[in-house]
């Protein structure tokens, strides 16, 4: 079996007096599609944000692709990573946000080409060619010159996916990428994600309340509650035969709330 591409080793995250993650450990294999589910406030977003280095951790270690994420080697030991080190580590990871966070002053094409040109020194023509391929993949090629404000939520999110893909990260993080969308726009984004899962060997971590999608998409499902992994397993096992009572209660509630499986 291949070595894990992400190794989270008893990390702790505190916001002031509030402990959100308390000694959490987990591993993700290269190419694995992982779904993180659980009640609101259980720390799912926090884990993704920590992996994207948008937060700091209060304790523990994270290894990504064989290297420490928040620590760098120095004189045979480990010291907290500096900005330069983090910058290099971020190359391995991309993230798609719940609220898209497109750059509103740039057209669709420029949203996708900006980072490759700035961070990898890709020439404009080449960056645009690659961006058009990606926009085509997400079905947004005909809107390349539109401004984000002219797009629907589903279209924005598909552009945001293309923007993240343009940097070819080894790991992609998706934080409830459909939950800010009108119901009729959810499917177009999920279709892109399905295609992505089928066509690439990228490692993907997905936080979602779309249980049906999580079931089809994921190789493995983690159920979180209060910053801890309560149960994990194959989608069929978690969704059809949950063993833990908290998982059962959660699934019953979310299905009663009208979510499909």
């Amino acid at each position: 079996m291949a070595a894990p591409i992400i190794r989270i080793d008893s990390i702790t995250k505190r916001y002031g007096p509030l402990t959100v993650l308390d000694g959490l450990s987990m591993e993700v294999l290269p190419g694995e599609k992982l779904a993180l589910i659980g009640p609101s406030g259980s720390g799912k977003t926090t884990i993704l944000r920590i992996l994207m280095t948008l937060e700091t951790i209060s304790g523990g270690h994270i290894e990504v692709d064989g290297e420490q994420l928040y620590h760098m080697p120095r004189n045979g030991g480990l010291v907290p990573a500096d900005e330069r080190y983090l910058h290099r580590m971020r190359e391995k990871i991309g993230m798609v946000f719940q609220h898209f966070n497109l750059f509103p002053h740039k057209c669709v094409l420029d949203n996708v080409t900006l980072a490759p040109m700035l961070t990898k020194g890709v020439a404009k023509a080449e960056a645009e060619k690659r961006a058009m391929e990606l926009l085509d993949m997400v079905g947004m090629a005909d809107k390349a010159k539109s401004m984000p404000a002219q797009l629907s939520g589903g279209q924005k999110q598909r552009v945001a996916i293309a923007r993240a893909l343009a940097l070819s990260p080894k790991i992609m993080l998706f934080d409830e990428v459909t939950s800010a969308l009108d119901p009729e726009l959810v499917e177009e984004v999920l279709n892109v994600m399905r295609k992505l899962a089928a066509e690439t060997d990228m490692t993907m971590l997905l936080v979602t309340h779309e249980m049906g999608f999580a079931h089809d998409f994921a190789d493995r499902v983690l159920f979180f509650d209060r910053g801890k992994i309560v149960e994990e397993g194959k989608p069929d096992d978690i969704f059809r035969h949950p063993r833990q009572e908290r998982t059962q209660t959660f699934l019953r509630k979310i299905l009663a709330a009208g979510h499909r499986l």
Partner: protein, 220 residues
């Protein structure tokens, strides 16, 4: 007292001399305010706590005292500790410091109005801090600041007569001197008012243009 057109033409060159100084003081004061404001804003937002606090204190202090007092201080008190400045320079520094505190506030509000998600998207696409400022934050923060900054520019322009108190030969001072030597006030003071009005009207038109233009960029 009758309006005397002959007198008007006679004093016009002197007043235009003054107007030139007024415009020069406004332009230099605004440039200085723009830079000082940036320094204040950056110190307040990014400096270590003690320095940020000290900056806030200085900003509040400058804002809480009248410009006229500050001008007197710079021109008449600083020489006591050996700092002797030409009148115009003292005036420009006074305007720049005073309006720099307002500019700082505009900058701060403009930057803080850029949503946190923009910083995070920049980080997630691995931009450096510098690239984030240049390509993501400032292009969004600056356009909405322009109308507010232009408003302060107009306000500053209308406060330049205060510089006459420290002997700067700007428009108001020139008008006063021709009035005092001829005992005719109506023409010089009316002209001062008209000059300021014309300049303000031009500025307002320009301001509307800026607002339109930057509103359009957003919609494009």
């Amino acid at each position: 007292m009758e309006w005397d057109w002959n007198f008007v033409w006679q004093i016009m060159p002197t007043l235009l001399e003054g107007l030139k100084i007024t415009i020069l003081a406004t332009a230099l004061g605004a440039a200085l305010a723009a830079v000082i404001g940036l320094v204040f804003a950056i110190l307040r937002m990014t400096a270590p706590k003690p320095l940020a606090r000290a900056t806030s204190f200085v900003v509040e202090f400058i804002r809480g005292t009248p410009l006229l007092v500050q001008l007197y201080f710079i021109f008449y008190v600083l020489p006591d500790i050996g700092i002797r400045l030409p009148a115009l320079l003292a005036g420009v520094i006074g305007l720049g410091l005073h309006y720099g505190t307002y500019a700082a506030e505009v900058y701060r509000a403009g930057i803080e109005n850029v949503p946190r998600g923009q910083w995070e998207a920049a980080k997630a696409t691995n931009l450096t801090g510098r690239q984030t400022w240049i390509h993501v934050i400032l292009p969004q923060a600056l356009p909405p600041m322009i109308p507010a900054l232009a408003n302060y520019l107009i306000a500053m322009f209308k406060e330049t007569p205060l510089l006459s108190a420290i002997t700067v030969l700007e428009l108001m001072n020139q008008a006063k001197s021709v009035a005092n030597s001829s005992y005719r006030y109506i023409e010089p003071m009316t002209l001062v008012g008209v000059f300021f009005l014309i300049m303000s009207l031009i500025s307002v038109v320009f301001l509307r243009f800026l607002e339109e233009r930057y509103a359009r960029v957003e919609e494009r």
